[in-house]
């Protein structure tokens, strides 16, 4: 068995996600537990708005 959070990042990898922008917080740390088991890169902005703008520029 794995947690839903661990399964989520494996699913994202299955869809081809290569990059995640995020700032860990006490409510989201469990989303990070499974990340080292994937090839997904994590970039840490300094504000969540920066995360959104970076993701926008990445996708645009």
């Amino acid at each position: 068995m794995v947690t839903c959070g661990e399964y989520l990042v494996k699913l994202l990898e299955a869809y081809g996600v290569e990059l995640i922008f995020g700032i860990p917080g006490v409510h989201t740390v469990e989303l990070y537990r499974g990340l080292p088991g994937t090839k997904i890169r994590h970039v840490t902005p300094r504000h969540e708005q920066g995360a959104g703008f970076m993701a926008d520029g990445y996708a645009a």
Binding site: M1, V2, T3, C4, G5, Y7, L8, K10, L11, L12, E13, A14, Y15, G16, V17, L19, F21, G25, V26, H27, T28, E30, L31, V43, T44, P45, R46, H47, E48, Q49, G50, A51, G52, F53, M54, A55, D56, G57, Y58, A59, A60
Partner: protein
């Protein structure tokens, strides 16, 4: 969650795909007003208005299906942010460790054959066709160029459509739809083919005008509601832009030519050059140097004078090369982190961020994130020590210019403190060298150009 809402609003307006995954309080705590960390009356309700959809995962079993829905939005419909929130108790709930499987996603919608036949008939009989290509037509660029040549139709590209037709093409138009030469052409064209555009007012700064199309409008968009906004179309066609252009090419015989498209386009380009802002001279020179030193660059911009100018004259060499937050929702601070993201998405292309002194103070701390992630981009900061566009807007309306003359920090010192390279070139040659060197670094290079500085004066000359 609220911290990312502005960025989601910008992506929503610009039709950018973005998957936003957040936590939310535990299921039994939702809506209980217990004063818990990050508690909102309804986080999902707050965010849902800036998404294609927002979903709360109430049980782990929902996750594969909802992720498939998210990626179906990105693959097959108008791309926009999707929000998935997972309660903290669901995040840690146990699920079977089965092999994760990406669902097979739907394709893109093809156009109605009878509408394509009717559109081909209108275009074949047109004496003065005009094509308007928006951000939604970027993936149709190759076919659209052939279609334009077959019809001999001038092509206007919106800000997010820049690059669909290359800069040297004889059928390329310039300016914006609010400028008189373009408004005159909209009134004179007997058939207008508009693909992937909402005719947004932010296209037309500094002087937006309601778009008036006198001839028959063939409007192609992936979003059916976009086809019945602002004004009716003679032929509203719901379809993927690339598939619609391919179908039109199949239906239109070769040699369907109006004959004078290049001459019309040339006359409009010349007329647009006469109505550009005076400030465009300086910023045209900046962009010429950028193109010379960093060919094939991606230019990500903010809301700032260089961007409002470049929107009017700049021609991108290919699609997905020029975008900024002056379009759509409109946010300060976008152009710096967006350039960092663009570089991560296209590491082999040079990336240039166009910022103002006001806008960069909304997000300058992200330079530290770019240094950490090894992102080498050129950040050009146009410094007029003010919220200059708003200052001019107040002056135009005879409003006291309060709150717009701002203290600006020493950007070179701040940027160096954040770990990147930074300089104030003293002339055009130094500016060229700074741009060239920026492309060889693995950290950002901030290049400040102060209004009235020797470099700015050289650029204006």
């Amino acid at each position: 969650m609220t911290n990312i809402a502005t960025a989601m609003g910008q992506a929503y307006a610009d039709s950018v795909p973005m998957l936003v995954i957040s936590s939310v309080n535990a299921r039994e705590q939702l809506g209980m007003r217990h004063g818990r960390l990050h508690e909102l009356p309804s986080q999902q309700g707050l965010v849902s208005g800036i998404t294609a959809f927002s979903h709360t995962i109430l049980a782990p079993s929902q996750l594969p299906e909802i992720l498939a829905c998210a990626f179906a939005v990105f693959s097959s419909s108008r791309p926009r942010p999707v929000h998935i929130e997972i309660p903290v108790d669901v995040i840690v709930a146990e699920v079977e460790d089965s092999e994760p499987v990406a669902w097979t996603l739907p394709g893109r919608a093809a156009p109605d054959a009878s509408q394509i036949a009717a559109a081909a008939g209108l275009l074949a009989g047109s004496r003065r066709p005009l094509i308007i290509a928006g951000g939604g037509a970027q993936d149709a660029a190759a076919g659209l160029r052939v279609l334009a040549e077959r019809l001999d139709a001038p092509v206007f590209m919106t800000i997010n459509g820049k690059g669909i037709v290359p800069p040297v093409h004889p059928l390329r138009l310039s300016g914006n739809l609010g400028m008189m030469p373009l408004r005159a052409e909209l009134a004179a064209a007997d058939v207008v083919l508009a693909i992937g555009t909402e005719f947004g007012e932010t296209e037309m700064y500094p002087e937006p005008h309601p778009v008036r199309i006198a001839g028959r409008l063939i409007h192609v968009d992936i979003d059916p509601l976009q086809l019945v906004t602002q004004f009716p179309a003679a032929l509203p066609i719901v379809a993927d832009a690339r598939l619609a252009v391919a179908a039109l090419l199949s239906a239109l015989p070769a040699g369907t030519s109006s004959g004078d498209g290049a001459a019309r386009a040339g006359a409009i380009r010349a007329a647009v050059d006469q109505v550009l802002w005076p400030a465009c001279a300086t910023h045209r020179r900046i962009m010429e140097i950028v193109d010379q030193v960093l060919p094939n660059a991606i230019v990500a911009g903010d809301q700032t004078e260089p961007v409002y100018c470049a929107n009017q004259f700049y021609q991108a060499a290919r699609p997905r090369s020029y975008f900024n937050s002056s379009t759509g929702y409109g946010t300060l601070g976008y152009g710096l982190p967006a350039a960092f993201g663009a570089k991560l998405g296209a590491p082999d292309r040079p990336v240039v961020s166009l910022m103002g002194d006001g806008g960069i103070q909304f997000s300058i701390q992200e330079i530290a994130a770019a240094v950490e992630a090894g992102i080498g981009v050129a950040v050009i900061v146009w410094n007029n020590a003010s919220y200059g566009e708003i200052k001019a807007f107040m002056a135009d309306r005879d409003i006291p210019q309060i709150g717009v003359d701002i203290f600006t920090p020493d950007f070179v010192a701040v940027a160096k403190g954040l770990g990147c390279e930074a300089l104030r070139p003293d002339g055009i040659e130094a500016f060229r060298i700074a741009l060239a060197e920026s492309a060889r670094r693995t950290v950002p290079t901030l290049i400040e150009i102060a209004e009235g500085s020797p470099l700015a004066q050289q650029l204006r000359a």
